[in-house]
Amino acid sequence: MKKFIALTLSLILALTLLVGCGQGNESQDLEEAEENVVEKEEESNETSGERIILATTTSTQDSGLLDYLLPVFEEKYGITVDVVAVGTGKALEMGRNGEADILLVHAKASEEEFVAEGHGLERRDVMYNDFVLVGPAEDSLALKENYPNNILGALAAISENQATFVSRGDDSGTHKKELSIWEEAGIEPAGDWYLEAGAGMGDVLKMADEMQGYTLTDRATYLNMRDVLELEIVVEGDENLFNQYGIIPVNPEKNDQINAEGAQKLFEWFLSDEAQNLIGEYGVEEFGQPLFTPNAK
């Protein structure tokens, strides 16, 4: 038995060392989290054209928008875009550390601060989408009848009745948005009914569905997952629920691995009529409504 354990352990150790060394040599200076992406980049640089790393929010990825848009760009310019979908907080952090070439995020105040601090070149509006409050089909609080487009009233009713509410709780753009709306409503959400999941939008929707609770979600992710959920839109169209996306090329002075040229091309393309029209059409065919409204100026 001891031999068996020893053998297994030394095998695992040997493997770990092998793998560890392999990664270490290629990109010692980078953090583990981004190593995979970067390595992928390095590998394909040998075989095909350029790559850029786009750090963005889980919402743009989960909604399927990027899978729809980026191939058009890639085809046109021969540049491959590696998407790292994380929360807005992490995306900005990646920009600060120079681990991404360009950011597409939605937390205007933090974004402007990011550019003001010299981490990004400039910030431009790209598009907006809106959030909706979703809840169980039964809607026992009758929010749909009483507050069809009044998010503040609906949240007040939820907290008064201590109905289950699942929050992202992950410092993402959506989480920040949710907190700002609670603040606007003058409520400090806390208690057994208010669950902070610390997870992505898809997971939180599944959780709310499972617990028959309410949650605030971007419309795109909800529509994409509608078929597997029993949740329904309860509140929509309130001005407080609009959500602006901005695009920021990362300051290339951070390190020499940043692909500034490619990032600039993607930046300009997102603001071009071609991309703006594509954004406006996305989702119409499948859901009967656009998921994002383009508003680049």
């Binding site: 001891k2 953090e31 994380v86 929360g87 992490k90 410092d171 669950l195 902070e196 999941a197 499972e210």
Partner: protein, 233 residues
């Protein structure tokens, strides 16, 4: 590289601060991690150590096939176990009526399933290699089947404890299963590993490293305890 060292240094500082500040949330996270993984290890051990010993000393057809299946199952990825348990426990699943999804109980179930093959496999191979002789002595002394299992357990105590610790280490360090069935809900189902994963996606590296260090300290403590007990250096 500078950034990296910075994070580690900051992580150490934060880890110490965390531990001495007696922050309630952090200790709840640590306690839940220990509770879930310990429960899972105990449940799996109670069921599968006796079974493993029994299978190890018994001769039957297909023993080789069993070994291979067991060793394969031992390396089941935790996300796969999580996925399976989530499907079983979700509201539309067969056990949905139990309302267990996103609770610590679901996490215990998932981790029990995760470490069971490990406990069974390790015990089985231990008893297959060393149980036979003990069994022979037992038989000459006129022991019953149950007596033999108890006798083998007693004789191989130290090796079994090492196996249990191995299983516990696998349980407390996995993130895939508890993330899926627990959901990482603050103050409810958040454990060390899911918290680390979340901190990373929030870009809070020092805090993530701090929790990682806490995890290592726990493992170190448990291993020291076990090895000093078993008399090895």
């Amino acid at each position: 590289m500078v950034i990296f060292i910075d994070y580690i240094a900051q992580g150490f500082k934060e880890a110490i601060n965390l531990l001495i500040s007696f922050d309630k949330e952090i200790y709840e996270i640590i306690f839940l991690s220990l509770f879930v993984s310990t429960s899972a290890t105990i449940i799996a051990s109670l069921i599968f150590i006796p079974l493993g010993i029994h299978l190890g000393i018994k001769d039957f057809r297909g023993k080789r096939v069993l070994s291979r299946i067991l060793y394969t199952l031992m390396s089941t990825p935790s996300v796969v176990v999580g996925l399976l348990v989530a499907i079983l426990l979700s509201r539309r699943g067969p056990f949905g009526y139990l309302d267990l999804m996103y609770t610590p109980k679901a996490m215990i179930i998932a981790q029990t399933l995760l470490v069971s093959p490990l406990i069974l496999g390790l015990t089985y191979s231990l008893s297959k290699n060393r149980g036979k002789e003990i069994q022979k002595i037992g038989i000459t002394l006129g022991a019953s089947k149950l007596d033999i299992i108890i006798l083998v357990t007693r004789e191989l105590k130290i090796d079994l404890i090492v196996n249990i610790v191995t299983a516990f280490s696998r349980a407390i360090s996995e993130v895939g299963a508890v993330m899926i069935v627990g959901g990482n809900i603050k103050n409810k189902t958040r454990v060390i590993t899911t918290a680390i994963s979340m901190m990373n996606s929030m870009g809070e590296y020092p805090m993530a490293i701090a929790l990682g260090l806490v995890l290592l300290i726990i493992s170190f403590g448990i291993n020291s305890l076990i090895y000093s007990y078993s008399g090895e250096d």
